[in-house]
């Protein structure tokens, strides 16, 4: 019995049927769909990271007394960073399982997926989508620590050189502020750099870099508007 006959007989004997064409097409669509879904979520995550950076600002890195890496991790929203990495990985895995993906190297797919996520994410951030979405999370998910809350926490560490709050009174080289925990502070601004955008008037919200010199006393090196970067 030749091979062809053996094979035909086995197919007939076991009634082996070819997989239907639609199942192959569906599998391919599912992989492409998964890729697009993962890319979309990755892009949104990236846009919220951009939003977090714009809110918190990297300029404060130099004022942290921790390592740069540690400081970056404090500023970046870890949840969204993890989501970005997870879904970026998912998008790469799903695209690499599509029919002709093997034609391009793993590095190219990583680059392409990352590039698309960055492009869409940046666009989403520029159009205000990230801010809107972040606000939705803040208002709808109780356990979610919003970027604004995180910002407040980061800028409320006088021992580490950051302070923020609302101006209560301006008296020459001395500033009186009420921080976001309603505690009053006396600020020495004699040698502080005051950003041009800061309006030194009562009720104005500001953030400061400097050093805590006593109980509720702070010597400012820099004064910036609270919402300066948004």
């Amino acid at each position: 019995m030749n091979n062809a006959q053996k094979i035909i007989d086995k197919i007939k004997g076991e009634n082996i049927q070819p997989r239907p064409e639609w199942s192959f097409a569906s599998a391919e669509y599912i992989k492409w769909g998964a890729f697009m879904l993962f890319i979309s979520i990755g892009s949104i995550s990236f846009s919220i990271i951009l939003f977090a950076i714009s809110v918190n600002g990297f300029d404060m890195l130099q004022h942290f007394k921790h390592s740069k890496l540690e400081s970056i991790l404090v500023i970046l929203p870890i949840l969204w960073l993890a989501t970005l990495i997870l879904f970026l990985g998912g998008s790469i895995v799903s695209i690499m399982h599509t029919g002709r993906a093997y034609k391009y190297s793993f590095g190219k797919w990583v680059g392409l997926s990352t590039g698309i996520s960055i492009a869409i994410g940046t666009l989403f951030f520029i159009t205000g989508g990230a801010k809107w979405l972040e606000h939705k999370f803040e208002t709808n998910i109780e356990s979610y620590e919003s970027i604004q809350e995180k910002k407040t926490a980061i800028w409320s560490q006088p021992e580490l050189g950051t302070l923020s709050g609302e101006i209560v009174e301006v008296a020459g080289d001395t500033l009186y502020i009420k921080d976001f925990k309603s505690r009053f502070w006396t600020i020495d601004i004699s040698s502080a750099f005051i950003a041009p955008k800061v309006v030194m008037e009562t009720t104005e919200q500001i953030k400061l870099n400097g050093k805590k010199t006593g109980d509720a006393i702070f010597k400012a090196d820099q004064i910036k508007p609270w919402e300066a970067c948004q």
Binding site: Q5, I8, P18
Partner: protein, 198 residues
């Protein structure tokens, strides 16, 4: 099959065979007949299988080809697609059965072994010694090196075809072939008298 006339396969293109097979299973025999000799040879070259084992692998591979016939992507050559399935089946079979034995010798009687001699990194060697080296060195190569050398020099496949068969980028094919040739030369040079190379 009993009443199927092999003559009905004559003149049919690969795509016609696929179309007719899906309508009438008997035509699937045309596909088997067209490729079985080359595929059996290929299985033996990359896996050190004996003839019976190679036939078992081939049979299982053709069953898979039948099951996936609707999934054939016409953008690639049918031959490449078939080689891919046979390749995967062979690797899978040998992984299940055993790790590759380095003591086994691949029996190569293909005249296209001579093409290896023409490879730029492998200098001309005396005929008999050369075949002995091929037989003894090929199994010593890493699997990924052996398969690209077999496909390139023994099966006369282009980089695009090898890329489609192994599902790796063409650039990787080129890199792997270069490394395989170097590895082959090193193994042959270490194992045999260096005078065998010019």
């Amino acid at each position: 099959m009993v009443n199927f006339k092999i003559e009905r396969c004559v003149g049919l293109s690969d795509r016609e065979i696929i179309r007719l097979s899906l309508a009438d299973l008997e035509y699937f025999a045309c596909l088997v007949l067209k490729y079985e000799v080359r595929l059996l040879s290929y299985i033996k070259k990359i896996s050190q299988s004996n003839h019976d084992e190679a036939e078992d692998i081939l049979q299982e591979a053709f069953i898979k080809i039948w099951k996936n016939l609707n999934g054939y992507d016409p953008r690639l050559k049918l031959e490449s697609w078939i080689f891919r399935i046979v390749h995967n089946e062979t690797i899978s079979y040998w992984r299940k059965k055993t790790s590759y034995s380095k003591d086994n010798i691949v029996r190569l009687d293909d005249e296209r072994l001579h093409t290896l001699m023409a490879a730029e990194d492998v200098d001309e060697m005396a005929g008999e010694s050369f075949f002995r080296i091929i037989e003894e060195v090929l199994p010593l190569l890493k699997q990924e090196y052996r398969e690209v050398l077999v496909l390139k020099y023994l099966e006369d496949k282009s980089y695009i075809e090898i890329s489609d068969i192994l599902k790796i980028p063409e650039g990787t094919v080129a890199t792997r072939i270069n490394r395989a040739k170097k590895s082959f030369k090193e193994l042959a040079g270490g194992k045999f008298d260096n005078t065998i190379f010019k």
